[in-house]
Amino acid sequence: MNMSNLTGTITKNRVLVVFAFLLIFPFLAPYEALATDVLIYGLYALGLNLVFGYMGVLSFGHAAFFGVGAYGTGIAMVHFGVHWVPSIFIGILMAGLTAMIMGAMAIRTKGIYFAMVTLALAQCVYYIVYHMGELSGGEDGLTGVSLKTVDLGFTTLNIIREPLSKYYLVLGFVMVAIFIFSRIINSPFGSVLEAIRENENRAQACGYDVKLTKWVAFSISGLFCGLAGALSAIHLSVVPIESLHYHQSGLAVMMALLGGMGTFFGPFIGAMAFLMLEDIITTMTSHWQLFLGAIFMIFVLFFPRGIWGSILHWISRR
């Protein structure tokens, strides 16, 4: 079996490949909490990748969906005492709603404006949540999102004491999301996204309503990022206000690009590389951001395909 056959097989069974890898990942990662972070941020970058990588539209506003997902879930649990499972869905739905509203405004603009407008709109969400007072915790963020034990019927997970249990709990949600995501990008709708990325005018002339498609994709993307946010609220048991800041949007963009935008594995590989590198560098210096910025610039300049994208490209050229 040669290399391109191998990548072909991997692509065909991509959901299984990811699942198998993520099952053993906590034993490869330095510690479980980091592995859980990789799951959450991988999902977050995956959600962004639907519009950024597959549709070719750069959004700098996805922090809004991550943040609203986190706050929605957290507020439902902390202030309204909702069970954690429906709380997660509340978070997802609120993130989706935010994406629908933001998207409806942002699709009125084209190309590069999209990045600016989504950034500004997301920052608007930041200020709204900031001013919600006790409900959101304002500047201090939302605290006390506690989920101690999870009753699965046959067994009870003590996720505070057992970080590995928490990892697998989060993995359950992430795997369902990955499966759905894989179906979407492999569906006819997925090819419309590629068509828009390749040639917006031609897609329009073929009979696709490009604006409507963009809006739908943007909203779906918001749902995935909302789930990532919701899981992060449960993982961290707090929601910092920074999770709505545009730097948070930048994280998803950077992870997607580092891993390989428009590729299925890219976002997870990007999140993994990013978080593990951060973990190593921050033990040595407090100036991680310097390295991050420099590494990112090097990728933009010399490896725009990202890690996985470059590997695929290298294999296909052999």
Binding site: S187, F189, E198, Q204, A205, D209
Partner: protein
Amino acid sequence: MNDDIIRTENVTMRFGGFTALNDVTASFPNGQLTAIIGPNGAGKSTYFNVLSGAFPPSEGRLIFEGKDITGTPQHKFARLGIAKSFQITNVFPELSALENVRIAIQALEKRFDFWTPRGQLTDMEHRAADFLDLVGLHTHKLKQASNLAHGEQRALEIALALACQPRLLLLDEPTAGMSPEETMTMVDLICELASDRTVILVEHKMKLVMGISQHLIVLHHGEVLAEGKPDDIRNNDEVRRVYLGQGKH
């Protein structure tokens, strides 16, 4: 049924202070190959863009099969039965030729299907392959569009246009930048396509147009200078004056 498939009534198109089309009223006979000709800057491309829905006219009406479709959004034109090929090659460069056409076919059927795996769309793929056969690209189905030769990319574009089963096919200078052999292949293809659907062609190669079209509309300075059968146009003094005055094309 009208005997014209599409017509424009008093269409005026302005860009800022510049009037590109002035009060253009013309009709295109059903089932025929009509060519829009005129010297450079006559407003041919603008007129093409009005007919194909890219520019809603500043004034006037666009009537397709007796229905007023003025101001209909671009993406609905394909669904109405009007398809176009662009002047500049306009395909999905990183996708295979087959996937290009399949996406065009899909536009009429599955715009918002989020779940069916692409592998199950075999029927659509067969139909896409048929369109590629028709335009002479049967050997290049799996080739990436950007790797096709210029003439082949133009042919692919026509396959994209055909994929939405248009009753009216609009072609904007389909032979632009082609070698003589490529041009001949393309002319044959256009004639074949015109045998079972209405075709409107924008072209500035006078000789090519005279040979294949059944009806002609001559634009000059954004207005209709003449309209009629090739022979009438050939003998029209005004047309001769405009073309001879411009040098040969």
